[in-house]
Symmetry: none
Subunit: 249 residues, 2 copies
């Protein structure tokens, strides 16, 4: 029996049953277990299947069930979150927005830091409630399904009654000329209320969003006090923002 032929048989067996045992195949094809081992190793190398201890598994079988809830550009967002976390001091009163970058920030808050955090995001609130020294206040309101943040009149009303040292916000789009913009009108209202409630506003945005714009405007770029991207502050991409009165980290 040819090697090629044998490997083809192995493959179709894997496709058929989603998984195989090396011992089974060795017996069926009447060759030594080592040969099968080597075949499977090769097929694995060629990404035709996945070799596991004692057998092999079809690629399709493995990928579908594992629901990858991977966040886009996690690494960049983590860098941003680290820079932002460095701004936090004991006793500060801050607001943390929804969005994956802000969630990273919430995760990166040191255990020993004494903070009061307001948020409109269910996920951020949950994350923060794991930090023993952080007082978490969830701003209520109707929950937007996709983003799991509180929106609407009631939320804005509640936001009007607070005053924080820093707010860390994200944005859909940001441009040196057009400022911060969003796809969604409701979100803009929320962000406006947040900015109004903050002494200083810190924008967290991955560089990919720079020089992009959309329909509804949140604020001018110089409303932002500090802007954090994953880039080095001296990066050329950020030069357009330097004319303004913005601190870039």
């Amino acid at each position: 029996m040819l090697k090629e032929e044998r490997q083809q048989t192995i493959l179709s067996e894997v496709e058929l049953h989603n998984r195989i045992l090396l011992t089974d195949i060795a017996e069926t094809l009447d060759v030594s277990i080592d040969t099968i081992r080597r075949d499977v190793k090769e097929l694995d190398l060629n990404k035709k299947l996945r070799k596991v201890h004692g057998g092999a598994i079809s690629l399709g079988f493995t990928t579908n069930s594992a629901r990858n809830q991977n966040i886009y550009a996690v690494d960049q967002k983590r860098v941003i979150a680290q820079k932002a976390a460095a701004m936090l001091k004991d006793g500060a009163v801050v607001f943390i927005d929804g969005g994956t970058t802000c969630l990273e920030l919430a995760q990166l808050i040191p255990e020993n830091l004494d903070l009061t955090c307001f948020t409109i995001s269910l996920a951020v609130a949950m994350e923060l409630s794991n930090k023993p020294n952080v007082t978490v206040i969830m701003i209520g309101g109707q929950i937007a399904k996709e983003s799991q943040i509180a929106i609407g009149a009631n939320t804005i009303h509640n936001l009007a009654e607070i005053r924080v040292d820093f707010s860390f916000i994200g944005t859909g789009y940001v441009d040196a000329m057009f400022g911060l913009t969003e796809f969604d009108w409701d979100i803009v209202q929320i962000k406006k209320a947040v900015i109004k409630a903050s002494k200083k506003t810190v924008l967290l945005s991955i560089s990919e969003k720079l020089n992009s714009q959309h329909r509804y405007k949140t604020c001018d770029i110089n409303t932002i006090n500090t802007m954090i991207t994953e880039l080095d502050p001296n990066n050329d991409l950020l030069s357009a923002f330097k004319n303004n009165d913005i601190k870039i980290l």
Copy 2:
């Protein structure tokens, strides 16, 4: 059975039911509890699920919730939740409390049901936001770390401004004589506000809590309109409650 195969099975079980018990899985797959323990440990390490005492929970369910670690008496709680879910009609405006039983209820709400749900629980809010036809309103306030629910004056203030058809509440302790009691003063204040805001109050409680009491009183037993346990309504344990004007399910 291959190890990988087994782990895939564990994962899909977790995704399906949001939570599993190690002993159940061990029996189903016919391997020792140690093996399952090691598998789950490994999957946890690989961030595929979250290992908790006695079982595992899905990551997608809720990232980090102290409440969800408690998978105590899930089956009973699911029975209760099913009975409660049967009470829900299209167009209803309801309040759903925190606590595992209420969380079960939130999960069991049918996809096609049109509802407006108020809640003080982050986990319930998250769960409900997966239901396309449910309008979710999170009542804001300071978040209690252990239970991840909003508490405090602001929450009570917000509760004072709503009026719901039904509220589904849990309780720490319940007794036919002493009524509903709690270990925690703040929680009592919240529950009082909830009851005040409801036309009808539905108590969800596992039978284990019957005939138990604690320091602070929420309300008398006849303040409750409907009481749901996992038991058959004719069970002897419930006879003490039948004298009152309570519907028992």
